[in-house]
């Protein structure tokens, strides 16, 4: 029996589930917040910045997904991602509230 199946059957299945949840849904939320931030920060006007940020978003998502399965502590993973997402989201909110949108 492969080690992975043992992981799924053993006590560590919760660990895998927590990482998978961090790697996909939580990751999507954090990546979205970071993409919005990039779209406000990149140069070249609103349209170019939006396109550029969208192009980079997939790299961010892939990086976070790998990190979710690479780091040692699941607790710190969740804490780190939530903190990053909240911080980026807050700055996004400020940008939109004060800078407005088209």
């Amino acid at each position: 029996m492969s080690r992975a199946v043992e992981i799924l059957r053993g006590a560590r299945w919760r660990d895998v589930a927590a990482r998978a949840l961090a790697a996909v849904p939580l990751n999507y939320a954090v990546t979205s917040a970071l993409t919005m931030l990039l779209a406000r920060l990149l140069p070249g006007g609103a349209q170019q910045a939006s396109v550029g940020a969208t192009l980079l978003s997939f790299l961010i998502f892939a990086g976070v997904a790998m990190t979710a399965f690479a780091v040692r502590s699941v607790g710190r993973l969740w804490a780190g991602l939530i903190a990053t997402g909240m911080a980026a989201g807050l700055v996004d909110w400020c940008f939109i509230a004060w800078g407005g949108r088209l």
């Binding site: 029996m1 070249g44 997939f58 790998m66 399965f69 949108r101």
Partner: protein, 520 residues
Amino acid sequence: MKNGFRQSMAWLHTWTGLLLGWLLFAIFVTGTSSYFQEEITAWMTPEVRSVPADGPTRFAAATRWLEREAPGASEWSIYSAGKRAAGLQLYWVNGPDAPADAPTDARLDGAGRKTEARETRGGEFLYRFHYDLYYINWYWARWIVGIAAMAMLVAIFSGIVTHKKIIADFFLFRLGKGQRSWLDAHNASSVLFLPFILMITYTGLVSLATHYMPWGIAANYADEQKFFDATFPWPAPAEKAGPAPLIAVAPLIERAERAWGAGAGSIRILNPGDRTAQVIVSTAPDSGMSVRQRSLTFDGVTGKVVGAHNPSGAATATEGTMIGLHAGRFSSGVLRALYFLSGLAGCVMVATGLILWTVKRRAKLADPERPHFGFRLVEKLNIGAIAGLPFAMAVYFLANRLLPVAEAGRSGREIAAFFIAWGAVFVWSAVRSSARAWTEALAMTAAAFAAVPLVSALTTDRSLVASLGTGDWLFAGFDTAMLIIATGFGWVAAKRLRRSTSSGAAGGKRPTKKLSTTVA
């Protein structure tokens, strides 16, 4: 995940690869076939004889056709698929006095006549299946495909990390050594073609980027439509102001082509035959690497230039070129063949990865005669996915020749034949022993592909021999490709048959030493 970065990445690689591998294989195979989408469509409409004609003349002929058939329309559009397809696709929006069921589209051949070809979706069905799937809503289909593509991107990155000897694997191929050979085939196809596979996955995501990640737009635009209006301008026809003759379009197209130094691919005429008429000429999809089209707008009566759209900016250029790289419409013969080969390498990479999952685990089974359910499920799904889809494609081509030509709704029945054939292989693999089902499915696929040129020769006057005689390279090429594919599948089936009769056991079951390169 306790055993270090590389192990955790290997684990991630194995399981994301397995979970989405079957879907990825289907996306890769139909996507690879789409590099010859126009050729497949041409082969599937054998009634259409392509007559090469230069662009402006073709568009002018189409305009005259529309003047006759759709005079009161508020707009006409004429699309060319590019240099490889001689025909034109026409759409129009009927005026208020036209009956509700009046036609709104037509296809013209290279000589400007309406084509009377059998009804088929041709290569476009395979192309659309590649990202819209079928039988399910396109919106969710694109999400499913996107999740698979993202999993693939993660699998590629983690595969790179997992690799200890990426350079050595470039040159390493141990044939006929069971598990090692599968691993080498998986490594060789993915490492050798890594630049292509990485490119095609990322650019595939970029092709549908705003579907998956609309937040980059939302950050700057309260109304998403404003972004799309700025990116893809699509003016609506103005209020009509009274009749005036439409200017000849051929000179306008020539002017636009001279201005760009690139060929025109489509024209859109707003309010034809009215004083407010406009002619919008856009670049062809194969005129450059970027898919973002340039356009020139002319006054439809005087021929004066009244507008120009020239997408510029680093991000747009990057995005357009990425999508262009993915679809490869700009590529000519040799490059297109390389695209096709690289696509095939991608198919081989996914298929060998899926097979490797079972081969690795077979050696470790407690009782190899009675594997557990999960193992059997993966084995059966592998057969249905890997042998079943090519079989279904061969049946799709056969159905195109065998279904009655004049039958109503025949394009839908061609597609039904495709899915019935595919489903049949899944059922077959479920009821037979896996070792036998593999050999039989591969042999059946070989036979089906070999039958394609044969059936085509019997049902049309454009057989391989006739095509070679008249120098019809498109038809000759298609039939030859079918024979090469049939030979490939036949060779694998024969190899399996020989091995199972010589060893007297189920295929691929041989003891292997523990590998130094671990991928699970």
